[in-house]
C-alpha cells in the first residue's frame, strides 16, 4: 500500500498533464492535433473552477471563447418569453460548449450554468490568435476542426428545422 502511495506521488503531476491532453484530444476541435501539439495547447488553455449554480456566461453577453468540461456538469439554457428558461443541453465531463465565440466578437447564444462544482478548461479567441501567430500549423488544424464542428452543428440544426416543418406540415 505504501509503495502505491509512493508511485502515485511520483507520477501525480505527469498523470494530471496527460489527462488534460487526453480530454482535449477527444474534443472534435482539437482531435487532429498530435500529442506534441496538444502539449503546446495545454500551455495556452486556462483552468477555471466554478461553484454549483454559478453562471459561466450569460446569453447575449459578448463571448470570448469555448469551455471543455474536465469535471462536473453544466446546463445550457435559453431564455424564453414565458420567463422560465429552456434547458438546451445537459453537459458532462468531456463535453464542450461556447465554441462559436472562438471566431471573434459575438454575443453568447445561450446561458451556461454549473450544475455542480465544475473544473473547466477555457480556450479563448486571443489564445487561438496567439496559436495562429506562433504555431500556424496547429492553428490551422484547430481552425479546420472548429469549421468542421460548426458545420456539423449547422447540419444538425437544419435537420431539426426540417423535422419541425414536417410536423407542422402534417398538422
Amino acid at each position: 500500500m505504501k509503495s502505491d502511495g509512493l508511485w502515485s506521488n511520483i507520477f501525480r503531476s505527469k498523470r494530471k498533464k496527460e489527462s488534460l491532453a487526453d480530454i482535449l484530444h477527444h474534443i472534435p476541435v482539437f482531435s487532429e492535433l498530435t500529442p506534441m501539439e496538444l502539449r503546446v495547447l495545454e500551455k495556452v488553455v486556462h483552468m477555471r473552477n466554478y461553484r454549483s449554480d454559478e453562471t459561466i456566461f450569460v446569453e447575449t453577453e459578448p463571448g470570448a471563447g469555448m469551455y471543455v468540461i474536465q469535471n462536473g456538469r453544466v446546463n445550457v439554457l435559453l431564455n424564453h418569453k414565458s420567463g422560465s428558461p429552456i434547458i438546451l443541453a445537459e453537459l458532462e465531463k468531456g463535453d464542450f460548449f461556447g465554441e462559436m465565440a472562438l471566431l471573434g466578437d459575438s454575443a453568447r447564444s445561450a446561458t451556461a450554468i454549473a450544475q455542480e462544482p465544475c473544473e473547466l478548461i477555457g480556450f479563448f479567441h486571443p489564445d487561438l490568435i496567439e496559436i495562429l501567430n506562433l504555431h500556424p500549423r496547429i492553428g490551422a488544424k484547430i481552425s479546420l476542426g472548429l469549421a468542421r464542428t460548426l458545420a456539423e452543428r449547422l447540419r444538425y440544426t437544419s435537420e431539426q428545422l426540417r423535422e419541425i416543418w414536417d410536423i407542422r406540415g402534417s398538422q
Binding site: H46, M47, R48, Y50, E54, T55, I56, F57, V58, T60, E61, P62, G63, A64, G65, N79, D105, A107, G122, F124, H125, P126, I129, E130, N133, L134, H135, P136
Partner: protein, 351 residues
C-alpha cells in the same frame, strides 16, 4: 438573471478599485515609470521580429536578444556611416552664438518696441525674457549631470526590463488572469487582448510614421538646399530629431521646429531664409504625414476623438511632463477599451 443585476455596481466598483490601485502604484513608484514604460514600448516595437523568430523555433527570450542585437548593430552602423550629427563647430556655436544671437535679437526688439509701442516704453520686456531664458539655461546646466546619470541608468534598465517582459510577459498575464474572479474573467480576457492589439498596433504604426516623416523631411531639406540654394545645415540631425519628436501627436512637429531654430541660431552666417525654409519644410512634412502617411500606417488602431487626444496630451504633459506626452495616447486608448468592455457588459446585464 435577477442575481446579475445586483452584481453591476460590484463590477464597476471592482474595476474602479483596480484602476485606482494601479494609478496609485504608478504615482508611488515614479522612479520606475520611465524604464518600465520605455521597456513596454521596446517590447511592443520588437514583438513582430520576436514572433517571426519564435515561429522558427527560437525561444522568446533569445529571439528578443537577437532582434535587439540586430537593431543596435543597425543603429551603430548608421551612426558611423551617416555624417556626424553635430559638427564640433556647431556644438561650439550652440554654446557661444545662441546666447549672443538671443541677446542681439532681444536688444533689436527692445529698440523696435521703444519706437513703435511707446505705451510699453518703460517695460523692460527684453531684459525680463533674457533673465528668464538664462535662468532656465542655468538650471538645465546645473541639473544636466544628474539628468545624464538618470538617463544612463534608464538606458541600461530599459532593455533589461524589456527582456523579462518579453520572456515572461505571457506567463505573467496568465497568472494575473488566474487571479480574476469568474464573473469578470471573460471580460478581462477580451480586454487584455484588445488593449494589447490597440497599443501594439498604435506604437508600431507610430514608429513607421516617425521613420517615414523623418525621411520625408530629410528629402525636402535636400531639395530645398539643392533646388533653391537655401542652406540647410545639420539636416540629418534635424530630420532625425523631428522624426522622433513626431511621436508626440500634434505638438511633436512644433518641438521639432523649436529644435531646428535653436540649432540654426547657433550656426554662423546663416541667412534668415534658412529658418523660414525650415518652417516651410516642417509644415509640408506635417501635411504629407497627416494626409498620406498617418492614414496608411495607423488605420484604426487607436480610434480616439481629436478632442480626447488633446485632453489626454494636456493631462499627460501636466502630470508626467515629456513622458506623459509620449504615453498619453496609449493610456487613453487603454482607458477607452476598458470603458467600452465594461459598458458592453453593463448593457447586456441591463437588457
Amino acid at each position: 438573471m435577477k442575481r446579475i443585476f445586483g452584481e453591476i455596481p460590484g463590477r464597476i466598483i471592482g474595476i474602479a478599485a483596480a484602476v485606482a490601485v494601479i494609478v496609485l502604484l504608478i504615482l508611488t513608484v515614479q522612479v520606475l515609470i520611465i524604464p518600465v514604460v520605455g521597456a513596454m514600448f521596446l517590447a511592443y516595437l520588437l514583438d513582430p521580429g520576436v514572433v517571426a523568430l519564435q515561429r522558427r523555433g527560437m525561444r522568446r527570450g533569445n529571439a528578443f536578444l537577437v532582434v535587439l542585437g540586430i537593431c543596435l548593430t543597425a543603429l551603430l552602423v548608421a551612426s558611423i556611416l551617416l555624417p556626424g550629427p553635430l559638427a564640433p563647430e556647431a556644438a561650439n556655436g550652440l554654446n557661444k552664438r545662441v546666447p549672443d544671437r538671443i541677446s542681439n535679437d532681444l536688444e533689436r526688439f527692445e529698440k523696435w518696441k521703444d519706437s513703435h509701442l511707446r505705451i510699453l516704453a518703460n517695460v523692460d520686456l527684453g531684459g525680463s525674457v533674457k533673465t528668464r531664458l538664462f535662468d532656465f539655461a542655468g538650471r538645465i546646466a546645473t541639473e544636466l549631470p544628474g539628468l545624464a546619470a538618470t538617463f544612463t541608468v534608464d538606458i541600461l534598465l530599459i532593455p533589461l526590463i524589456a527582456f523579462f517582459l518579453v520572456r515572461d510577459g505571457r506567463s505573467l498575464r496568465r497568472k494575473m488572469l488566474n487571479m480574476v474572479p469568474n464573473t469578470y474573467f471573460e471580460m478581462t480576457v477580451s480586454m487584455f487582448y484588445r488593449i494589447d492589439q490597440q497599443i501594439g498596433g498604435y506604437l508600431r504604426g507610430r514608429l513607421i510614421e516617425c521613420v517615414l516623416s523623418g525621411l520625408v523631411q530629410l528629402a525636402l531639406m535636400v531639395i530645398t538646399q539643392a533646388l533653391f540654394r537655401i542652406p540647410q545645415p545639420n539636416m540629418v540631425l534635424i530630420s532625425t530629431v523631428s522624426g522622433i519628436l513626431n511621436f508626440i501627436p500634434y505638438v511633436g512637429p512644433i518641438f521639432g521646429g523649436i529644435f531646428g531654430t535653436v540649432l540654426y541660431f547657433g550656426t554662423e552666417g546663416l541667412p534668415a531664409t534658412s529658418i523660414w525654409a525650415l518652417y516651410g519644410v516642417i509644415a509640408v512634412t506635417h501635411l504629407i504625414d497627416n494626409l498620406v502617411i498617418a492614414p496608411a500606417v495607423l488605420s484604426h488602431n487607436v480610434d480616439l476623438h481629436p478632442l480626447t487626444v488633446v485632453l489626454a496630451l494636456v493631462i499627460g504633459g501636466e502630470v508626467f511632463g515629456v513622458l506623459g506626452l509620449l504615453i498619453a495616447i496609449p493610456v487613453a486608448a487603454s482607458i477607452k477599451v476598458i470603458a467600452q468592455e465594461v459598458y458592453a457588459n453593463y448593457q447586456v446585464q441591463v437588457r
